[in-house]
């Protein structure tokens, strides 16, 4: 049986086929000359009027080949057989555009990623390349000229999360003269960095470098700081987001409060501070988390405040010199318009109680890394004294366990990136302040960034002991003389090749980083996707690390995976730069790859409404049909596949285009055999 190619009549289109060698990337496995010759002869009947091969189609000379043919031979369609469209679709479309052909009449088919790189048999690979080219030719015949969408950009930006990444992004934008809403869930901005004492590898004081930035963000005329607030709803699309922010009642009138701190001093209710002090210290029921908090205004913790629980006390109200306490304050919902959103919501510390064999929560002198940060902090619960849980005994030996909850099949497979350097920093601080013997229990030492390995060398020279091996157990069950009253680390020393029992006074667990407990809910609010681990997914892990698949929503810092401070700051700046470029253009160009619904075929079943991951489809009650908002639609095709009536078609992925491409692919063994 012979299948005749279907489609528009044979004489209509003039198609140029260009086969790229990509050096030896393609030509090493595919006989490109044969593909070119075959396409020129056998596909002539399908409209191919010119076929060429070239060493690098993406080079200027390669692009000029196409442009010249369009002008001189009047090509109406172009097929380039080269690499993945992810890489050079834009290049060849632009080349066509320069020669006066609508860019969307160009089709890039991949014979590198999908052919030469995955095959070794040259003959078979060449045949497959021919099939792929044939598919492209059939497909391109159904292409239609398209015009990119243009959307106006609102110049204001929403930054969610007031850690160092969010602060950086907000300051960059504000300094460039753009208005920013900086939303933070806690009473103060500062994030995890505000909890630290020293930062590696330079050992400069975290607060000293962070607080000036916090103050700038707090005072900046272009930044509207919304602390004790959360984003509840996001509607709209790139350039035109409408955001609802719930501002929780502080129960303190900020216009009257001077930040004098008398309320905190007089409040009789002491509460364990699980956030800022990592559970190791106390705060009052009315509090600012730390002295340098921005803004300076305290909040009343309604769950613990005696007045809210029992209706009595009111000590803060009575003693406030400016009468700023207001128990009647209610939550407020703010609605703001922004053009872009930067998410910098950070991370949670892995809960080491899940690793029961390390005894955290059971054995008093096992600490988490964040607890230890607070211990070493001069403003922390012990004023920087490194002591045991009893609050006074200085340890004579300390064991630091790396990779707790990271690189572990039972918990998180990934490396948390910061723990090696953090553990080295801890080792240094313990040595410096107590002179104790310090053991680091590690799997691998990963000190990859600038000046990190030098710091490792320094800690080695200071006499910290390193034991390579994952600790099996931390126990207080003494077995040998000298172990009584100690914590014993049972570990296989993989360099010495033997089991060791090392008794110490104190154990620090370098717990890994993990996504925020509510990361999935946040992703839903902002229309983003999470990886299996729960980190937000970048548009491209290497080449577009701060953009997301949702236009106008950017990510910075640990929200997309574990990062240290320099990397988080760099991402904050990068996200701001991306936003600035769209604001300054005034409008944004969007790929016209969009779904559209044929209203006459739509049954109004609304299946597509809930499936759309971008919330782009709404139901028109009056007409009983669904409609796609082209600015929101990202062209993913979910609705196209799901529509039971076949009423939805994706621009650039119409049934005609996809089916004829398949037909073209299959013709090799039938029509051209």
């Amino acid at each position: 049986m012979t299948t005749q190619p279907q489609g528009p009549s044979q004489s209509e289109e003039k198609i140029g086929v260009y086969v790229c060698h990509c050096g030896s990337n393609i030509a090493g496995t595919v006989d490109v000359a044969e593909v070119r010759e075959w396409a020129g002869q056998r596909l002539a009947g399908r409209g191919v009027t010119v076929a060429r091969d070239y060493k690098f189609m993406c080079s200027s000379l390669g692009q000029e080949l196409i442009e010249k043919d369009i002008k001189e031979q009047g090509l109406s369609r172009v097929v380039v057989a080269a690499c993945s469209p992810h890489l050079h679709e834009g290049t060849f479309r632009t080349a066509c555009g320069r020669a006066g052909l609508n860019p969307y009449l160009c089709e890039l088919v991949s014979i590198r990623e999908q052919v030469s790189w995955v095959h070794t048999d040259k003959h078979a690979a060449t045949d497959k390349a021919k099939a792929v080219v044939s598919g492209g030719v059939e497909r391109v015949r159904h292409h239609v000229p398209l015009v990119p969408l243009r959307v106006a950009i609102h110049p204001d930006t929403l930054v969610v999360g007031g850690g160092i990444a969010g602060i950086q992004a907000a300051l960059e934008l504000a300094d460039a003269g753009k208005k920013v809403y900086l939303v933070e869930r806690d009473p103060s901005i500062g994030g995890h960095m505000a909890q630290f004492d020293k930062t590696f590898p330079t050992l400069d004081c975290a607060a000293c470098i962070l607080t000036p930035r916090m103050v700038s963000a707090g005072n900046h005329p272009n930044i509207t700081l919304l602390t004790w607030s959360e984003v509840t709803e996001v509607h709209g699309y790139v350039g035109n987001f409408t955001v609802k922010i719930r501002q929780r009642a502080r129960h303190v009138k900020t216009e009257l409060c001077t930040g004098c701190g008398i309320c905190q001093e007089k409040c009789p209710k002491k509460v364990i501070d699980d956030v800022y002090e990592a559970g190791l210290g106390y705060r009052k029921a009315v509090y600012t988390p730390f002295p340098q908090a921005v803004p300076k205004y305290p909040v009343i913790d309604v769950e613990n405040c005696t007045y809210f629980r029992k209706g009595t006390c009111r000590a803060c109200e009575k003693l406030c010199p400016t009468g700023a306490i207001d128990f009647a304050q209610k939550d407020e919902v703010l609605t703001v318009q922004v053009g872009n959103i930067i998410l910098a919501t950070g991370y949670d510390l892995f809960d080491p109680q899940r690793v029961t064999q390390y005894g955290y929560g059971r054995l008093a002198n096992v600490f988490t890394s964040l607890e230890f940060e607070r211990l070493t902090n001069a403003a922390g619960p012990t004023n920087g004294a490194i002591v045991l849980r009893d609050g006074k005994t200085v340890p004579k030996s300390v064991g630091i366990i790396h990779c707790v909850g990271s690189r572990d099949r039972n918990f998180n497979n990934y490396c948390s990136a910061i723990c090696c350097m953090q553990s080295l920093k801890f080792a240094h601080l313990v040595k410096e302040r107590t002179g104790a013997t310090v053991y680091n229990f590690y799997i691998d030492i990963r000190t990859t960034a600038k000046a990190y390995d030098e710091f490792y060398q320094r800690v080695l020279e200071e006499g910290t002991l390193f034991v390579r091996g994952r600790v099996a157990e931390v126990t207080d069950a003494a077995r040998l003389p000298g172990e009584e009253g100690k914590l014993i680390l049972q570990v296989e020393d993989t360099l010495a090749g033997k089991q060791r029992r090392i008794p110490v006074d104190k154990v620090v667990l370098s717990a890994g980083l993990q996504p925020r407990a509510d990361a999935k809910a946040t992703a839903q609010v902002f229309g983003l996707s999470c990886s299996a681990d729960g980190w937000f997914i970048e548009k491209h892990p290497k080449l577009d690390p701060v953009a997301t698949m949702t236009e106008g929503v950017f990510i910075a810092g640990c929200v997309s995976g574990p990062k240290d401070i320099p990397a988080s700051v760099a991402q904050g700046s990068a996200a701001a730069a991306r936003v600035l470029s769209t604001i300054d253009k005034g409008e944004i160009t969007l790929e016209p790859v969009r779904a559209s619904i044929n209203a006459t075929q739509c049954s109004g079943c609304r299946i597509c409404n809930t499936l759309c991951p971008f919330g782009a489809i709404s139901f028109l009650e009056a007409d009983r049909v669904s409609e796609v908002n082209p600015a929101l639609c990202q062209g993913c095709g979910t609705c196209v596949a799901a529509c039971p009536a076949g009423a939805i078609s994706g621009t650039g992925f119409s049934n005609d285009q996809v089916l004829s491409q398949i037909e073209g692919l299959l013709m090799l063994n039938v029509a051209y055999a």
Binding site: Q353, T356, R362, D390, G391, K392, A478
Partner: protein, 332 residues
């Protein structure tokens, strides 16, 4: 009332008669209906699986087949649950059920062997559970608390679960592999002071006393030292083998290491019976080698002062706060 099929195992009729007697008493108090599997045989304990796999599984499989048959006849609501009191029996039964399903060839071979006696077992037919699991999760601690007439105030007990109950935990029934807290909670419900026994799921040596006594003595010594470190009056166990090793080999272990431990080791059902007001003699107290009766003298009539219930544990008033427990633990 739910009826459970019960597989007692050999030890209950010999070395662990105190377990059998106290279980009978406790079961009566708690209305726990245990129907013994008729014509059961030895489970093969720890050794047989190490020698010859198919006959070993067939030996266990026969018990499963008999139990399943009996379950079918009785057809009660809970009759598909097979309860074992001995940890080794529990693990062997669970293991056979699990591997007969996971490795169909093994399942077929075992069934071939069983067919010679006119029996057969389809893996998954029975839910195999340990007695402690049933007491905690089916009977419940509220009912246990209700029945306590003589709380064990002042008695410091080391909860010792042994290695075979929480691992490998095919059905995810236990709170943790390393530090399961089920026995702690039960003993606390009886009013006893429960020490945070770090070795609660360590090995007692199993049958090592017969094969390699020195290895066994070291394992026993560690457990005794651990319980002694926390000044426990009593080690409470759920397994006849653990009880036997800690009790019967304690003197020899002391001789071997020149130590002087005297830690009575009893079954959890014995201390339950005690709290329920039963006569200690009838519960088998006195049959152990390291006499537990002097320890029982420490039971006081009034509760020993301790921190407020549910309060966050503090290391010391002036010290740093301890981390909060996991939410799921807090609920309990």
């Amino acid at each position: 009332m739910t009826q459970y099929l019960f597989y007692p195992g050999c030890a209950m009729e010999s070395s662990a008669r105190a377990y059998a007697a106290s279980l009978a008493s406790v079961a009566k108090t708690l209305d726990l209906d245990l129907a013994e599997v008729k014509d059961w045989n030895c489970c093969g304990a720890t050794e047989y699986l190490g020698i010859n796999l198919i006959p070993a599984y067939a030996l266990i499989g026969r018990n499963l087949a008999l139990a399943a048959q009996q379950a079918k006849q009785q057809n009660g609501a809970g009759a598909h649950t097979l309860v074992a009191s001995c940890s080794a029996c529990y693990l062997n039964l669970a293991k056979a059920d699990h591997y007969m399903a996971e490795r169909p060839v093994l399942g077929d071979r075992v069934n071939e062997a069983l067919a010679a006696g006119g029996l057969g077992y389809k893996p998954g037919t029975l839910k195999i559970r340990h007695l402690l699991d049933v007491l905690i999760n089916d009977i419940g601690l509220d009912k246990v608390r209700e029945k306590v007439t003589r709380p064990l105030h002042g008695l410091r007990v080391a909860p010792y679960l042994g290695c075979m109950v929480p691992r490998p935990d095919y059905d995810k029934r236990w709170s943790d592999y390393e530090q399961p807290d089920e026995l702690d909670r039960l003993l606390r419900a009886l009013g006893a002071e429960v020490i945070d026994f770090p070795l609660k799921s360590e090995c007692c040596g199993g049958h090592m006393p017969q094969i390699s006594p020195n290895t066994a003595f070291e394992l026993i010594r560690r457990l005794l030292q651990g319980a002694d470190q926390y000044k426990a009056d009593l080690i409470v166990t759920v397994c006849p083998m653990c009880q036997m090793n800690l009790d019967a080999y304690q003197d020899e272990t002391n001789r071997h290491f020149h130590t002087h431990y005297r830690l009575p080791t009893v079954f959890f059902t014995q201390v339950m019976g005690l709290a329920f007001g039963a006569d200690p003699e009838a519960l088998g107290f006195g049959s152990e080698i390291v006499d537990a009766r002097p320890a029982l003298g420490r039971i006081q009539t009034t509760p020993v002062a301790s921190g407020p219930v549910g309060a966050r544990p503090r290391a010391k008033a002036e010290g740093l706060p301890m981390p909060g427990r996991r939410p799921e633990e807090r609920e309990r």
